[in-house]
């Protein structure tokens, strides 16, 4: 599906195996950590029919396409006593292309698929100090949910 974000034409679609390299690169650029193994596992699960969704946003050129953003998630049920719920595990938009509605569109794409998969809500986890992502998710209408994350050093 193609959306014209002001003057920028952005194409949104489910990720394919040949997107892996660009996803790993953008993830490293945004998070500062290279997680090649994690992404390989994600793609293996995705294409093995084990669930999960990855959507990407790309800018198409004459010969190639540049990845501008991605979102990853899946519907999970009954863990922690939770009804079927769409979980967003990761979201990234190239810093040069932010504030142009790309993250919002990726969020809508994955939420729509979660709904088709039987989820009635969408959930994510954000570091308390990560104001950028927390503000983004709140701007999509997300609020504190019924669960609190607890942890302990072991």
């Amino acid at each position: 599906m193609i959306y014209n974000q002001s003057k920028l034409e952005v194409h949104f679609r489910p990720a394919e195996p040949n997107d892996l390299e660009q996803i790993v690169k953008l993830d490293k650029q945004v998070s500062g950590i290279e997680k090649g193994d994690y992404w390989m596992e994600r793609f293996t699960q995705l294409h093995g029919g084990l669930g999960g969704h990855i959507f990407i946003a790309e800018k198409q050129n004459a010969e190639s396409s540049d990845l501008l953003g991605f979102i990853v998630g899946e519907v999970r049920a009954w863990e922690f006593g939770s009804r079927p719920c769409g979980w967003i595990f990761a979201l990234a938009v190239d810093p040069e292309y932010r504030i142009q509605g790309i993250g919002e569109k990726l969020f809508k794409e994955i939420s729509s698929v979660f709904k088709e998969n039987g989820a009635t809500s969408v959930r994510t986890m954000v570091a308390r100090k990560d104001q950028l992502n927390m503000s983004f998710f709140r701007a999509q209408g997300m609020m504190g949910g019924p669960f609190i994350e607890l942890e302990k050093a072991i």
Binding site: R128, K129, Q131, M134, S135, R138, A139, G141, G144
Partner: protein
């Protein structure tokens, strides 16, 4: 949690004006709408003006208009004009002479403070105004 009156009034006023950035409203009109003291609100408006969030408009029909960026200004930005949020937990954590019970309680208060601050810092005026629309849809 409870915010001080000046903070509450400041949030009412700045959100009321940010809801319609082209409009201008007097402190009396805003005070009347929220059933609050117009004298107190007038002082609050001066603080908001000094912080650059509202600008006074002189002349007939004058009043105040929103002069910030509602997609950037957070609830925390407005709150900190009027009060410092949180308990003394952050100060206490740096004290070298804490008793164990004091230490354990402070860590709980610190956790609550961090969540409170993260929440207020992540909600822009624009997002809060959008929640009015979302709540109406429910």
């Amino acid at each position: 949690m409870k915010l001080q009156k000046a903070t509450q009034f400041g949030l009412y006023a700045v959100l009321e004006l940010a809801r319609d950035p082209q409009s201008q409203k007097s402190a009396v009109d805003i005070a009347k709408k929220y059933g609050i003291s117009s004298n107190h609100l007038a002082k609050v408006m001066r603080d908001l003006g000094r912080a650059g969030l509202v600008a006074s408009v002189r002349g007939a029909g004058g009043g105040y208009r929103f002069s910030g960026n509602s997609k950037r200004v957070t609830l925390m930005d407005v709150i900190t004009i009027f009060e410092e949020l949180g308990s003394d937990a952050s100060d206490g954590l740096n004290s070298p002479h804490r008793i164990d019970i004091e230490d354990a309680l402070l860590s709980v208060l610190f956790e609550i403070d961090e969540i409170t601050q993260a929440t207020f810092s992540s909600i822009t005026l624009d997002t809060l105004l959008k929640t009015i629309h979302w709540r109406g849809q429910k």
